[in-house]
Symmetry: C2
Subunit: 329 residues, 2 copies
């Protein structure tokens, strides 16, 4: 591969001039420009990012931490991130942390090693202390999940309100026995959604029953199945279920079906996230829609501003309750 020196030689100019043509910034006479461009074409020259990046002390790569690439919730966010990053001439390095601290560490080190210019973290299981420490020196944004005790700018939705609305929807339909399939409450969003759930019940003087709140380790289908199985074994079973993710809700749907019960006639179900699959279940799933694509775009914009050294404020985006067959057959 040709380098900038060879281009300069062929064009009969200095490397500085070639660089000027490449970067279009400072002025080059039309004549020399043409000469240089001809030399570039002739030699099939492509500038090396390795040299440029070292010189500019940047990698133009953004790190994106997600707990699991298999979770469809993240795919739309990533689309937003990728589009926006590409537009600003950044590339993204997608890091499936598997919520594994070791892996997380490997990736987070990249920013220290100058291999990444900034980080968007979407992993609820991220080591918060580590992230906050890093954020003092490096540009970091949290997307969707964040640390309420920390000082890292984030973009997210109002989880408490979204859960409140979902549960209120069930109450308005006449339900009084409403179960909650939640994730582990070490996660902020899980705590917030539980608060919304309880606020709705309290508002209508419906007592909160411990046995109707089930906490899962992960958000997989299987967890939804297991949770629903437990709930169906209680002496009094709920007539409605609010699950904090569509994957959990779909697992619940399946288990309800398996027991010969009908949704929503016997039990109504609400999910969260509006993953593409939530429209393919039978019945289709009532769910809370987050502006995932937009969330990704905003996160990148915030991060780029942060990289530029600007001050960045956290942003709360809107959500929407999508009412489908699983609550209103």
């Amino acid at each position: 591969m040709a380098n900038i020196q060879e281009v300069a030689d062929k064009a009969g100019v200095s490397v500085a001039t070639v660089s000027r043509v490449l970067n279009k910034k400072s002025s080059v006479s039309p004549k020399t420009r043409v000469k240089v461009e001809a030399a570039i074409k002739e030699l099939n020259y492509e500038p090396s990012m390795l040299g440029r990046n070292l010189r500019n002390s940047e990698s133009r790569i953004l790190l994106v931490l997600i707990p699991s690439i298999s979770n469809p919730f993240y795919t739309e966010i990533i689309n937003g991130i990728e589009d926006t990053a590409l537009n600003s001439n950044y590339h993204i390095l997608l890091c499936d942390t598997d919520s594994n601290p070791l892996r997380e560490n490997i990736y987070l080190n990249m920013i220290k090693n100058k291999l990444a210019d900034g980080v968007i973290s979407m992993d609820p299981a991220v080591n918060k202390k580590r992230l906050n420490d890093l954020a003092k020196k490096y540009p970091i944004i949290q997307c969707s999940e964040y640390d309420d005790a920390g000082h890292i700018p984030h973009v997210t939705i109002n989880n408490e309100l979204a859960a409140y609305r979902a549960v209120k929807h069930l109450i308005m339909l006449g339900h009084k026995s409403i179960a909650l399939i939640n994730c582990d409450e070490k996660f902020l969003y899980a705590r917030q959604r539980r608060q919304g759930y309880e606020r709705a019940l309290n508002e209508f003087d419906i007592p909160v029953r411990k046995e109707w709140i089930y906490n899962t380790d992960e958000l997989l289908f299987e967890n939804g199945i297991r949770a629903m199985r437990k709930l169906l074994q209680l002496e009094t079973t709920p007539t409605a279920v609010f699950a904090v993710s569509d994957t959990l809700a779909i697992g619940a749907l399946k288990e309800i079906n398996e027991n010969g019960l009908k949704v929503p006639e016997h039990i109504a179900v609400v999910g969260f996230d509006k993953i593409s699959f939530s429209n393919m279940t039978n019945p289709t799933l009532t769910t809370v829609s987050q502006p995932m694509y937009q969330m990704g775009c905003v996160a990148v914009q915030m991060l780029i501003n942060k990289i530029k050294g600007e001050d960045v404020e956290s942003i709360i985006l809107d959500h929407e309750l999508i009412i489908r067959e699983s609550t209103m057959g």
Copy 2:
């Protein structure tokens, strides 16, 4: 951030010695090693990959081209890719090409720009000429989908045989009216799976009926719904459907249900890929399982060998027919 020079100064040695400690290759006396390590710790030094990469003329980044991150088929492959790459100290840059030539171009340029050391392409819609040209100069591997006319090493399964087996399974159950929901046959895998479909029919003297072969543009749920809708409008409707992806099959399932028909009593359905969701449908989906994780691992290993300059042979992996409720209620 401290650089290697500062560490050398603080430790009272030369930069070469610091580099030796860092890279553990050549010998350093225990005493100096301790001194250097102390200096590194004290200064919180982290080696810059920008400098190292320029010097070594490598980025240690592998490009992975996928048509769409939303397709769950790819997520398991990516897991395999990521694990294997990380083990060999490579990072992966995931490129959602959206089957868009412009985007593809942006990404493929990265390898010319030295920003990537090699490419794994999984995009069936990739510009084959472009890829073959690039492959002459740069390390490239194709995964899952490949170009039978080209010379790029690939890892894949025997699509013809897999389709043959799936259709034969339906025939053995007594079906004689078997539809095929295929993707656009500009894709090699689509042509191969159609061949397998036809071979099975021919073997049992079942005529191939044009109106029972439906080609879709994409592999989305919606395409499956539309395809099934068409098939159900025919005067003679099939009693079984083989769809070349689970997403299509799940769409078909939904449309069959919508029409008040039962799977598999009225119509049996077979999918392809064994995505995690195929186990959550009602009924669960009979499907062809590809060793996706392994495919990812193998692809990376092949690519790394190629980067090292070794000769690399294409590899065909095994598949498996997973029989579930959608064919045997």
